[in-house]
Symmetry: C2
């Protein structure tokens, strides 16, 4: 097809008519596909089907350490599960609380506690501050931004580079004491797939924010979620912070939502012993204990962290062909047109796609009208506003390979249509 921007108006008009005809064909197929969320497919959930056999009336519900998981108690989680997830997040067993099934909920809880009570080192509850600002690397995770928007924080965009957030911007913004924290997905970042470089992590560890109770919300959601045998490596922020006695600055989150069951996994928050003590005192007002049967099922199924890591290779084997299929189709359909770029992540759940500025919303709408749901354009930005209207998040995990092929082809067609429409509008 050649580079679109080099085409004349009549050429573009002819092309648009072709694309519209093709699009009508797709509309008639009546597709109903969803690439909007990082939702595991059934075959991934089946990988842990054996977990459902780990508790039974015969096997009982008493853990190896003697805890009757059916009864009250152990707010921080049973010892075995704390060990398992502490190993996953590279912290000590005393530096972790294993909560319910949702790390998002644990982040939300950390935020409500900070607002209503403050964090360790706060002068006052955050809700008593005249204004709170939060740094949001963009594009980022929409549900992070939804929390801070919900609570009325002023969200500040920080550009994502190929090695993580632009640390010049971060270092500048944290001079403002009303900046209380930053959202981070440091490994296989949602949606860019970027793993923060050593240089970036070291600069995080050296941050000296004006707010004494500044917190890095380090959502290590994809810590062992490699697509390839050779995974990215992320420097251990917590260890670096400890070296400088600054370990109170990070809240680290993780979950097994994409290791065991998205709808019944385990979530955890890890932090310094001081932070954990401070949190636990507040948590005793919130609940008596989290679901320990689920904790027991995970411990019995995985046994230890090595097994859990090995288990992730099975997920990779199912996910990798999906990512590669989408990437191949994008290359085949759009590679020569010079109208878009996209990421080729080595882990995580997303491909981040950049249309020609001004074309993302239209692309998503065209997909929608032909039966393929994508994440709303702009969703990866605070307030849902992508200043360039350019970013689209693709989530290839849920559809089957056959469905994915269709969805990806339609997506490429929609990108082309939206771009040609845009070029025609702007060239008039």
């Amino acid at each position: 097809m050649g580079k679109l921007k080099e085409k004349t108006v009549p050429q573009l008009e002819a092309l648009l008519r072709e694309l519209q005809t093709e699009y009508k064909g797709w509309q008639e197929k009546g597709l109903r596909l969803d690439m909007s969320r990082g939702k595991p497919n059934t075959d991934q959930l089946d990988l842990c089907q054996g977990m459902l056999d780990t508790v039974s009336s015969k096997l009982g519900a008493v853990s190896e350490s003697g805890v009757d998981c059916r009864n009250y108690g152990l707010l921080e989680g049973i010892p075995e599960v704390r060990k398992l997830l502490a190993d996953m997040l590279q912290v000590d067993q005393e530096e972790i609380i294993v909560g319910g099934n949702s790390s998002l909920n644990m982040m939300y809880d950390c935020m409500t506690r900070a607002l209503l009570y403050g964090v360790y080192g706060s002068d006052k509850p955050w809700c008593k501050e005249p204004e709170i600002k939060f740094l949001c690397p963009v594009p980022g995770y929409d549900r992070h931004f939804a929390i801070t928007q919900h609570f009325g924080f002023k969200m500040i965009n920080v550009d994502m580079t190929a090695e993580g957030p632009d640390m010049d911007q971060v270092e500048e913004y944290i001079k403002d004491p009303s900046v209380k924290g930053i959202w981070c997905v440091p490994k296989y970042s949602n949606p860019t797939g970027v793993t923060y470089s050593n240089r970036v992590v070291r600069r995080f560890a050296r941050l000296a924010p004006a707010a004494p109770d500044f917190r890095i919300f380090w959502d290590n959601a994809y810590t062992i979620h490699d697509l390839y045998d050779e995974g990215d490596t992320l420097l251990d922020l917590f260890a670096l912070l400890k070296d400088q006695g600054k370990e109170d600055m990070a809240f680290i989150f993780g979950s097994t939502s994409k290791i065991s069951f998205a709808g019944a996994g385990l979530a955890a928050v890890a932090a310094s012993k001081r932070n954990i003590r401070f949190m636990t005192r507040q948590l005793t007002n919130q609940t008596i204990s989290y679901d320990k049967i689920s904790q027991l099922m995970h411990v019995r199924f995985f046994g230890n962290f090595q097994n859990m890591k090995a288990h992730m290779k099975k997920h990779a084997a199912l996910l990798r062909p999906k990512f590669e299929l989408v990437e191949d189709i994008l290359e085949e359909e759009l590679g020569s047109l010079d109208i878009a770029r996209w990421t080729k992540p080595r882990g995580g759940y997303f491909i981040s796609f950049q249309t020609t500025p001004g074309c993302a919303k239209r692309t998503v709408a065209l997909c929608k009208e032909a039966g393929v749901t994508l994440t709303a354009a702009g969703a990866a930005f605070p307030y849902g506003i992508d200043p360039e209207d350019s970013n689209i998040r693709l989530a290839p995990s849920y559809p089957s390979l056959e469905e994915l092929e269709q969805a990806a082809r339609l997506f490429c067609l929609a990108v082309k249509m939206a771009t040609v429409e845009y070029l025609l509008t702007t060239s008039i």
Copy 2:
């Protein structure tokens, strides 16, 4: 022994020496018993052991309505479980959200949402109010008061009568617009065992608080937790409120913590459709969904509410002898002394004991020093302050009958000692 208050000082002194000798004997036994919390015994947990067989790799994790409980989705709970718990709380399926394993956590969440966002009908978030007051029927549930204390609410004691909170006091206090709500355990109240009378519930339904966003936190924790075939009946507050179009005024809570597993049950909040819609919009910022494997296990094990109610008779058969044993020993040891009174509840988890004013703390301390842990004296009051130092909560569920007999005997001895000491001090 005769009424203690009629004895002379030398008689009391002689008695105290006798009691002290007996007490030494108890101390030498080295007991380690716990009557502090309403914790089910292992034999109660065993009643639901079959629940652990309801999910397995063979049975899978797809609910009858076709929900794959292993995956994301259904924030309000799977339809089957909403039906089950809606029946338990006498509401419609659309009027309930089934959350994690802790109703306390759901109350805490309702409170944080109210503070940070307001409830349906609020002018502003509660944390923006200069002062918030909350009504606390006393004696009441310590963990309720811990939440409102944690958030700095001013807690106002309301006297519990034999038919529920003193509604004259409640009706007076709610004229103050800074009074935003009231804690209630309307059936087999913690710790008094009182079920609110029809008259009291009707007065609740007629309340016209000055605060437009006043909420009754109706913690129906023991709704089907009868000890006898003939259980207490509680008038349906929600239906009465609906009759007057005032159904937004109540948040109703319940859980299966003392039906299935204390450490892995299901909790729910029920409320008007407007409240539920308002809450759900906020909840989408908090989490994606709660643990649905646990929901599925409950649905498969109980099937329907009738079975759940039938199941409660098995709990009653285990609990009733424990309550009756303690009541018999109290009567035998203290009945004639005119120094104490106690409740004989027909359901729930507690016996509420009133010592001679000024003797509760000393009684609890004496028990502790001889190896029997009771709930801290004063715990059933806001700020832990029992103005009369008289109330002690006894929780007979966890110890075995043999242990309970020992604990109850020691408790009676401690009551006698504390009372004699007190009488001697005050008669000097």
